[in-house]
Symmetry: none
Subunit: 210 residues, 4 copies
DNA sequence: TATGAATGAGCCTTCATTCAT
DNA sequence: AATGAATGAAGGCTCATTCAT
């Protein structure tokens, strides 16, 4: 039902101390419950009460490990962010030919896979990004990381774009948003098809027709 | 300070009755105040109290015209949505040459202009779209309208894309998201530059190099 | 739909001044509307807004003739009370024979007729009698009047009861409450049958078997 | 000051979970406070705030155990209703002689005792019975129970009444209403005297003179 | 005389957080 | 380490009453 990203990390209250096995199990239960609740109710509608109920634990216990709801989500977002950031680097060299497009496609497809896996957490940071800047920054950092990697690859690829940074942002935007559309059901296309469309468009946007 | 979209529309409670001049002025004051408050606090953090204070009116008055915050935002979103939808149709024929790109650029720039003008309302519907499906639908409808127009133009342009619908979605996604990035300050680029980058990328993605 | 009792009497604000034809019409409209609304919503749930809507007039107008909701209901209750009080006196001499029971039956049946006619107003005073003592007193006065008349007739009838006053109260209680049960549908019996049962029980209670 | 009927029962929110000692004490405090507040202010005028103040607890706590004022009163009424219903059955065989009247008197006196004990709750259900049909039904059920038992006893007593059901209703009406009059001070008579008057009248109404 | 608009006190309910055991 | 209970600030909504035209 729920796939907590790393579940290895508790929030502020638990920061300093070493958790014994039982404590770690409780933290994981809470994080998993958080993922479930975020998925069903969304960030703003999620109540601590929902989470502790889903985790079959108590309010008191929740605050033993997290200082508040935000803290739990932050832990979640942090983990997801790191996982995704780690992935950004896997993008290889970009070339104008089919091999380049294939590489791009692989990268995009992987991004999509992660997006689907962590959709509820990612949507939370999108939802929260306006009022709570911290999450926004976290999200921005992740996307910024993607854009940075892509900027580098574009710059070294000799693609005939005016400004590699701008081009990268545009491509990241299209990838992110299409995955979002798909995740909320605003468009209906299977992962492969989506990756195809995105890779083709992105490759064309960077290199033009072969 | 605030630019209410059309400000002609009250919510459910005022639906049946005809408003006199004074009532209409009050509705407009409330809508304008709503825009301001959404801009500063965001949808979720906005309280009815903030809005009536900004409108220099009373709680009771608010509920005379809107059944709650959601109702007011709905009126706002509706107007913005209609304004934007009306704009979608202005896209002319797309061609592989510079004229085609110019046309696309104009359309994109206009979209950006509206996006900037109504940013607070649009962000609200993005923010609200997860828990309140109605707003999501409204947003989806608007974007769907853009995608539909674009699909049509792509289909009749003879662009060498595999699926006009998919291509249109990708392009709309990139346009929307980049404007969003710009509006929340996640990227820093002036409107012209943004429109340029988007138009170039979109045109390339559709037609490849000239 | 509504049968306002006398509709001749406005509330406090209109007390001193003479109403012209139009004003009188408005008062009547409001009183009639009051009866309707009390019938459908009950005293506590009735809002001034309901009444003015039913009367097709405005809030401002309402307060031109009544100082508040209570005032309107008071006028209604007063009229009903007077009408009923006037009726109490019509009870003739009570005798142990069939003629006496017939007379009692007539009186009870007439009471029932009025009860049915003014049910919504009467229910209002029952409903209001706990918190607003004034209405309670009004209701008590009416019932007190009935009891007084009955006490007198019992005393002069030579009925073998220990205390005429107590007996009268018991009989009034049974008459009132049964009509109430019937009016709210708690018992289902037609007026004639109800009057029969009550007259028989009351006559027996006063005089025993013939 | 307050005599909560059974005080064993919480409202909807506490339905599922088992309450510990402290929670049970709190529920009882709230129910007792409810009884007090109903007695002093009546159902409609009672505010949740009054109840929590009287119970020396907080708003939040109230909603931990009851979903609203109605819910608390429902619990109260339910208990009173059950207590009274249980009592209805204690009525023994009715006979035309003095023993029969004595039995009736005992039953009536017991009813009066309970009425006095639970007066505030009973008045609440009378007060509330018009708008909230549920309470009305509860009250009707209780009275219906009394009437049913009485109907049975009348039917098996060979009393010369035309319709046992009608006669029972009439008697229940007189008992209920006289107790009500006494409880709101509309008549002034001590319990014994009241029971005497009622028993005599009821017995006569059923069996006529000895 | 009539009316639509405005007001704001009053009450209700939720939920994040703390506390005692 | 865990838990059930308690708290109260925050915000929502209604409706009787007043006001300006």
């Amino acid at each position: 039902m729920s796939t907590s990203p790393a579940a290895s990390r508790a929030g502020a209250p638990a920061e300093g101390r070493a958790l014994r096995a039982r404590g770690q199990r409780t933290v994981r239960k809470l994080l998993d419950a958080g993922v479930d609740v975020l998925a069903t109710r969304g960030y703003h509608a999620a109540r601590v009460d929902d989470i502790v109920k889903a985790a079959k634990t108590s309010h008191g216990t929740f605050y033993l490990y997290f200082s508040n709801k935000e803290d739990l989500v932050r832990a979640l977002v942090r983990d997801v962010g790191e996982t995704m950031a780690a992935h950004a680097d896997t993008l290889g060299a970009l070339t104008p030919d089919d091999a380049g497009r294939e590489e791009l496609r692989r990268w995009i497809a992987d991004f999509g896979g992660m997006y689907r896996k962590y959709a509820s957490v990612i949507r939370s940071w999108v939802e929260a990004e306006i009022d709570t800047h911290e999450f926004g920054h976290l999200g921005a950092d992740v996307l910024g990381g993607f854009a940075a990697v892509l900027t580098d690859r574009i710059a070294t690829s000799g693609a005939p774009v005016e400004d590699a940074g701008n081009a990268a942002v545009v491509v990241v935007a299209m990838i992110e948003r299409c995955n979002y559309y798909a995740s909320v059901g605003q468009i209906r296309s299977d992962p492969d098809e989506l990756a195809d469309s995105l890779a083709r468009a992105a490759h064309l946007a960077l290199f033009g027709a072969a």
